[in-house]
Amino acid sequence: MTDDPKAPGRKGVSRRGFLTSVGTGALSAVAASRIEAEPTERAELLEGEELSKVTLILNGRSRQLLVEPRWSLAHVLREELGLTGTKVGCDRGECGACTVLVNDVPRYACLMLAVEAEGARIETVEGLMEGEKLGHTQQAFVEKDALQCGYCTSGQIMAVDGMLRSSPNPSLDEIRQGVSGNLCRCGAYAHIFAAAERAAELKREGGAS
């Protein structure tokens, strides 16, 4: 991990370079969020209502849109683009309901500005579908009844899917760590662990997706 987040260049560009270089894995995600928490010295001050152009690679398609610099990625996905599979439970990085994959790494979309996601590959729960067919992780959640109210479920699914991309054969401990950033108030954790194991199995049998 050699990228210096304070290196010259506007945040969108430097961030893209940074994100693509960190690769996958929970450790990288932790490190990335720690570095991002530091203030960006060269950030331009913009008026709240001034709109910025941003390009997202959203579920495999490039999307250009105008956003307020302060809008979170979660807000843009849900309220501007109608991708309401991504849920907001706390809007402050505590519950994980808004978890999406950013360049294959699970991230809280409420803690990421849309402008920060410039050029990044964003995947939401809708992006795991193959047309009308459920993806492997989604299918595993159905089979193991790994949900109740379903409001945390998209985030749980994205956390599991992201974990399986970096660790295709996780141990039970890895699974529990992998979803420990995702609260489930209905308390279906035991079923979520089983679903993660089943998802790993389905992915091994059925290839990517």
């Binding site: 309220e79 729960v125 109740q148 379903g150 420990s180 079923h191």
Partner: protein, 775 residues
């Protein structure tokens, strides 16, 4: 309090219709083909694909976003509200407060609003002061921050244990006692204690727990002229309809409430909230749809909690395990308004175990904090925390296994209800025995008792049991099952599926009767405009209320189909029956007709079956029972407790849907671990009176790392043929009642330390362990 005469807690202030009783008696099933099987949820696809639209997901054309300004102080008088600067901000479309020109519009009245929508006398942190509608949530919050409010701060009281002292600040002028203490008595407790060989007395406390469902409370409101449509995250659309109609002085027929998907409630979403009315008023004022979804912080302050409980329990037992007397004192607080601060707090002491002499007294007290709302088995996890630890302690004193002590005191009838009505079934004995067998109780208990005392790790096992005085279901409820001419089926019910699997259970009931695939049953539910009446999904009442109703509707449509077939086939209807979705004949095994092949059905296009919920059996009580077992490992140096495994043995009657039943047990145990080990509202009583942990970082919910990786579920079905025509009783609430007490008993078994206060977290436990060592 007599339980049967009072309206259940989740129906307080709600007008209910009467439904006609079902014409015929329907016998419970003997064997089932679909019901009870581990089939996937019928709406799992929607919930995992992201296609389910929850209320917070609703996005309408031209929709605005609301934000609410809340009082930052526990007790204050609002002197003035200046919204001028806020109204001038970009994107802001409306601002309302108690000082708005539309004052009358902000004075709607309804039970749940308490005083005024925007209250100038704020008795708790989080009371609503003003609200904004703007083009984006960001604009709305800018405007909230720009509103200038002048408050006069008033003295406050944050702890119900101090609120009755003579110099305590008053929450209401009439005093901080909500009402005279509520009392109950049977037999003679003094005589009972005199007969006992051992009498123990102990104080217990449980901390305030906050529901915090994953989807925050909220609503989207849209007007079409004088007609209002509300999409609300709710357990009961009909309760929201009557609440909003009464608050705004509207006819029910002008208020349509839709709640197809909702992200958890646990009792806190049984009726509408101020946010519903705020969304409606802002939408009216701006002539645009308005979404009002609370922030997480607001859900900690203003939309309910499980009250903290202070309990003292005195109990006497003979050496042979016979309970002779129990006496209970409890205080609690529902916050700044009457909100059931001690609701059902003493019920388990009164009714769980056979005991001839019992006396209880509970006192509800006001403090300056957000009002309580019903929370998954009100009063019961608290009472179990006291009673089940007391049973454990009594067992130790008389040298008896705690399961044996419980087995000696299993009641066959309800002692606390007038006339001592018998239970239709009491599966507690089987729960204890079959649970203990599956858990390996005897071996695990001996193993941990004999474990070497070297090193800091200690193991222990614990058990606790419960009943739940509701969970029987009841009228009124109506459902419709429609049979299309191609043989497929539509089910119409007003019940909300709050994640418990209601829709799945009901589809399985239809499938059982009509031989269709449960996944192919089209379901309309939870919409006051289009679906039949169902009570709010609460009290573990939904399946036992709705499943018999839906079954009656399916049988009604089946009878109509057989009548048509008999006429068309020119045979006696009594010779026909439906099997695997086909009309067959007792007279001629060769006869087999697909419903879709009946010309008369084709001409009718659709058959409509109606079902009503029959009354409960007269003079009897239908209650679920349970026993839960756990094994823990305690580090006596750090106070950390690792819950290694859990087992829930439940008599909730017939298992209707095995996967969702098990999920309720898993979830109830997880929530009980939170109540017992991690969760507590912390009010800064000494300085500001504010809640200091109003977020999920500081208020700890159990995470994936705090629960045992496997939770075993042992369903016990005593074959209840009287309960209702399905034999099902509720499971949601009993699944969480005994959990925390079982953990406390296991910690005692491991360490010899009795943790009488929740939560059993490392700092509290390490302190107690140090005290035990005399440090």
């Amino acid at each position: 309090m007599t339980l049967d005469r009072e309206r259940p807690y989740w129906l307080e202030g709600i007008d209910l219709p009467d439904t006609p009783s079902q014409d015929e008696d329907i016998e419970p099933w003997d064997e089932t083909k679909v019901v009870g099987k581990p089939l996937p949820r019928v709406d799992a696809y929607e919930r995992v694909s992201g296609s389910a639209v929850y209320s917070a997901d609703v996005v309408l054309p031209r929709m605005l976003y609301a934000a609410i300004l809340r009082c930052p102080y526990p007790h204050a008088e609002v002197k003035s509200v200046d919204t001028g600067a806020a109204e001038k901000l970009p994107g802001v479309r409306a601002v309302l407060s108690a000082f708005s020109p539309e004052d009358a519009a902000t004075r709607p009245h309804s039970e749940f609003i308490r005083e005024r929508l925007f209250n100038t006398h704020c008795r708790y942190e989080g009371e609503t002061v003003a609200a904004v509608a703007a083009e984006t949530p960001y604009d709305a919050w800018d405007a909230v921050r720009a509103i200038e409010v002048e408050y006069e701060r008033l003295p406050f009281v944050s702890d119900e244990r101090e609120a009755l002292e003579p110099d305590a600040p008053l929450v209401h002028d009439a005093g901080n006692r909500v009402a005279e203490p509520s009392t109950y008595e049977r037999g003679d407790v003094e005589a009972g204690f005199a007969q006992a060989d051992v009498v123990l007395e102990q104080e217990y406390r449980s901390e305030c727990e906050i529901h915090t469902p994953m989807e925050p409370h909220g609503a989207v409101a849209k007007w079409d002229g004088d007609q209002l449509t509300v999409w609300e995250s709710t357990q009961g659309v009909f309760n929201v309809q009557s609440g909003v109609a009464s608050a705004l002085g509207m006819q029910f027929s002008k208020v349509r409430v839709i709640g197809h998907y909702m992200g958890g409630g646990f009792g806190s979403k049984l009726s509408s909230g101020k946010y519903t009315v705020i969304a409606a008023l802002l939408a009216k004022k701006t002539a645009r749809p308005v979404k009002c979804v609370l922030t997480r912080e607001e859900t900690f302050l203003a939309v309910g909690n499980r009250p903290p409980s202070n309990m003292r329990l005195k109990a006497g037992v003979k050496r042979d395990g016979t309970l002779t007397a129990m006496q209970f004192w409890g205080t609690g607080t529902g916050g700044a308004y009457r909100a059931g601060g001690t609701s059902l707090l003493d019920w388990l002491v009164r009714d769980l175990y056979t005991c001839p002499n019992a006396k209880t007294e509970t006192t509800d007290i006001y403090i300056n904090a957000g009002p309580a709302r019903p929370f998954r088995a009100p009063g019961h996890p608290q009472c179990a925390w006291a009673l089940e630890q007391m049973m454990d302690a009594l067992a130790v004193e008389i040298g008896m296994d705690p399961i044996e002590l419980r087995l000696k005191n299993i009641p066959a009838y309800s002692q606390a209800r007038e006339g001592n009505p018998p239970y239709t079934t009491t599966g507690l004995k089987e729960c204890l025995e079959e649970g203990a067998r599956s858990f390996g109780w005897t071996e695990a208990r001996e193993r941990s008792s004999a474990a070497s005392a070297d090193g800091p790790m200690r193991r222990g096992v614990g058990v606790a049991s419960c009943l739940w005085p509701y969970g029987m279901g009841s009228p009124p409820a109506t459902a419709i099952v429609k049979l299309y001419s191609d043989g497929t089926v539509n089910l119409n019910t007003g019940a909300a599926d709050i994640g418990t699997g209601t829709k799945t259970v009901l589809a399985m009931v239809v499938a059982e009767e009509l031989g269709v695939d449960p996944g192919e049953v089209q379901i309309e539910n939870a919409d006051t405009g289009t679906t039949q009446f169902a009570g709010a999904s609460g009290g573990s009442m939904t399946v036992p209320s709705e499943a018999p109703t839906v079954r009656a509707a399916a049988i009604d449509v089946k009878h109509q189909l057989l009548e048509l077939a008999a006429e068309e086939m020119n045979v006696a209807v009594s010779t026909l029956y439906l099997k695997d979705g086909k009309v067959q004949s007792t007279a001629d095994p060769e006869v087999e007709r697909e419903p879709s092949s009946l010309r008369s059905l084709g001409r009718r296009r659709m058959l409509t079956g109606v079902g009503h919920r029959a009354p409960n059996p007269a003079g009897k009580v239908v209650n679920p029972f349970a026993a839960q077992f756990c094994e823990v490992e305690v580090n006596i140096r750090t106070g950390e407790v690792n819950v290694l495994r859990f087992l829930g043995a439940h008599d909730s009657g017939r298992v209707m849907s095995l996967l969702t039943y098990k999920n309720q047990v898993v979830g109830g145990i997880t929530m009980g671990i939170g109540f017992g080990m991690t969760e507590a509202r912390v009010l800064d009583g000494d300085q500001t009176g504010k809640m200091v942990n109003k977020n999920w970082h500081d208020y700890k919910l159990p995470t994936a790392l705090d629960v045992p990786p496997e939770v075993e579920c042992v369903p016990v079905d005593p074959g209840d043929r009287e309960a209702n025509n399905t034999g099902a009783k509720g499971i949601g609430e009993p699944a969480t009642i005994p959990t925390a007490a079982a953990v406390a008993n296991a910690v005692f078994h491991a360490t010899g330390v009795r943790m009488t206060g929740t939560p059993i977290n490392p700092s509290r436990l390490v302190e107690a362990l140090a005290a035990q060592r005399g440090e």
